[in-house]
């Protein structure tokens, strides 16, 4: 299984504070892997290590290997910019570029990578917006400001923006935590549709969400991965006492 994401001995620090302890984990390609755990357990840090966004924060360091499609992201000479082009990311709060229109937001990644031809951009924008299930809602307002959309639409706009550069992996860091239940349901539908095209890793503190959208789930606690397995098995028959305590609501 060379196509998925293979993480081994991954450690991460913030200013010398050890926040991720030797994570080993293999995620299947073209499937959804969920990462759950209480606040501060390191799940966001973990996902940010998968496209080298962790090191963007001053004082943040990483060790270990992350193989994506067989290539180690942390090998010497690997350009983080190239890594991030292949591995897209959606954040907790919708963050469209406020000075750009809906169209320009989606086109931003391509345009700033040097794509100039209007026809190419138009095609890519429409494809990404359709993939993000937003095209029908915004096709008549591509010139409007990206931040004029509703919260749920903004988040789908951000997904479209990430998809426009045609990544093979999509990382989602609690993509629904700032959204209402209806908008959340739409994003979850979207995740299920995108699964056939991309490898998706989603961090969530909503266990029902993990159960609904993912094939495999990892449970993180205090910077360690306690348990990893098929989602159904992890939720119905956890092997570790701490996992059981967490999913039955005894703490966290």
């Amino acid at each position: 299984m060379i196509d998925g994401i293979r993480v081994s001995a991954l450690n991460a620090w913030f200013n010398g504070v050890h926040v991720l302890h030797g994570i080993d984990l293999t995620m299947a390609p073209k499937a959804v892997t969920a990462i759950i755990g209480p606040s501060g357990c390191g799940k966001s840090t973990f996902i940010r290590c998968l496209n080298r966004m962790h090191e963007v924060v001053p004082g943040a360091t990483v060790s270990g290997t992350v193989l994506v499609e067989g290539e180690n992201l942390y090998a010497a000479g690997v350009d983080p910019v190239q890594v991030r082009r292949r591995i897209g990311m959606v954040f907790q709060r919708p963050n469209p570029f406020p000075t750009m229109s809906v169209f320009d937001n989606v086109a931003a990644g391509l345009r700033l990578a040097g794509v100039r031809r209007r026809a190419d951009l138009q095609e890519a924008v429409e494809r990404a917006l359709r993939q993000a299930a937003l095209w029908d809602e915004v096709k008549d307002q591509l010139d409007k400001s990206g931040v004029s959309l509703s919260g749920g639409q903004q988040q789908r706009l951000c997904i479209a923006r990430a998809l426009a550069v045609e990544p093979t992996v999509l990382l989602m860091d609690e993509p629904c935590s700032a959204l209402d239940p209806i908008a959340t349901a739409r994003i979850e539908e979207l995740i299920l549709e995108l699964r056939s095209a991309l490898t998706i890793v989603i961090v969530t503190h909503n266990m029902q969400q993990a159960a609904r959208v993912s094939e495999a789930t990892g449970f993180f606690l205090m910077g360690e991965m306690v348990e990893f397995g098929v989602t159904r098995a992890l939720f119905t028959n956890p092997r570790d006492k701490r996992t059981e305590d967490y999913i039955t609501g005894r703490f966290g």
Binding site: F91, F97, P98, T99, S101, L112, V147
Partner: protein, 280 residues
């Protein structure tokens, strides 16, 4: 406190704050009114198109000083704005702690240096080596005064751009320099322009640093390495002269100066207006 007492305090404080807000704009309104009253009669076509008349002759204008001020401020902005804005971006974006701290502190000190001292600095740096007063020396002095204002406001505004936007751009696989240039700066544009306009307005009215740099000139300037007229210098010369006609022209000069700052600010804001708003 009883509800009735609380309501009374609320009304009193609301009025006090409204009064204070009014007091802020009162001086500007009074200055403007006074200038109109004293100087409006001397502002006419001649004022904009003619050179000053010799002593004893009525009429004439300040055309050379109006153009001189535009040249001086334009040159100063040409020197000061690129350095100031880029410096501000560095202060806001740098991961280094020490150098930005030092630069920030020294910029604040520079901001507090009296403008006459900046004039002496430009005199030593430019006028003495060139052995003559010049428009260029005046522009250097004004640029030095602009620098700390532009650096500090640019830094503050760039800092206000949410880090989530930087992260969104970085996560798209955009190199950091392009993120700053194409995402951060456009988002900060409106705020940076506000800072630039504050700096332009400030130096447009500066007199002291021009006294021994640009020096003033009663005629059209021929070259930028020669003395040049400026509205504040002309206003000073006319205000301390013993002629009523010159006094009227000094008032008119002040009125035109304020009007120019107003028009330039407005034009800059309209010309650089983005379609969608960023950080202000």
């Amino acid at each position: 406190m009883k509800p009735a007492g609380r309501r009374v305090v609320n009304v009193i404080m609301a009025w006090l704050t409204a009064l204070a807000a009014g007091a802020v704009i009162l001086p500007l309104l009074m200055i403007f009114g006074f200038l109109l009253f004293q100087g409006a009669s001397a502002v006419n076509v001649d004022f904009y198109t003619h050179l000053p008349k010799p002593v004893g002759e009525d009429g004439g204008g300040m055309a050379n000083a109006i153009v001189g001020s535009l040249v001086l401020v334009g040159m100063a902005a040409g020197i000061g704005l690129p350095i100031g804005i880029l410096g501000g971006v560095y202060l806001a974006e740098s991961r280094d702690r020490r150098l930005p701290w030092v630069v920030r502190f020294l910029a604040d000190v520079l901001n507090g240096v009296p403008s006459i001292v900046v004039g002496i600095f430009a005199y030593t740096l430019v006028v003495l080596p060139m052995r003559r007063f010049s428009a260029f020396a005046g522009a250097v002095a004004l640029a030095v005064i602009m620098l700390p204002i532009v650096v500090r406001t640019s830094e503050e505004i760039v800092r206000l751009v949410p880090s989530s936007l930087r992260e969104a751009a970085l996560a798209l696989g955009i190199p950091e320099w392009k993120v700053v240039l194409r995402v951060v700066l456009p988002t900060a544009r409106a705020g940076i322009i506000t800072g630039v306009m504050v700096a332009v307005a400030r130096v447009a009215g500066e007199t002291a640093p021009l006294l021994f740099t640009a020096f003033g000139n009663r005629f059209w300037h021929q070259r930028l390495d020669q003395p040049i007229a400026a509205l504040p210098l002309q206003i000073l010369a006319y205000a301390i002269a013993p002629y009523d006609d010159w006094h009227r022209q000094a008032w008119a000069g002040a009125l035109v100066l304020i009007g120019m700052v107003f028009v330039v600010s407005l034009a800059a804001r309209l010309a650089t207006r983005g379609r969608f708003s960023g950080v202000r």
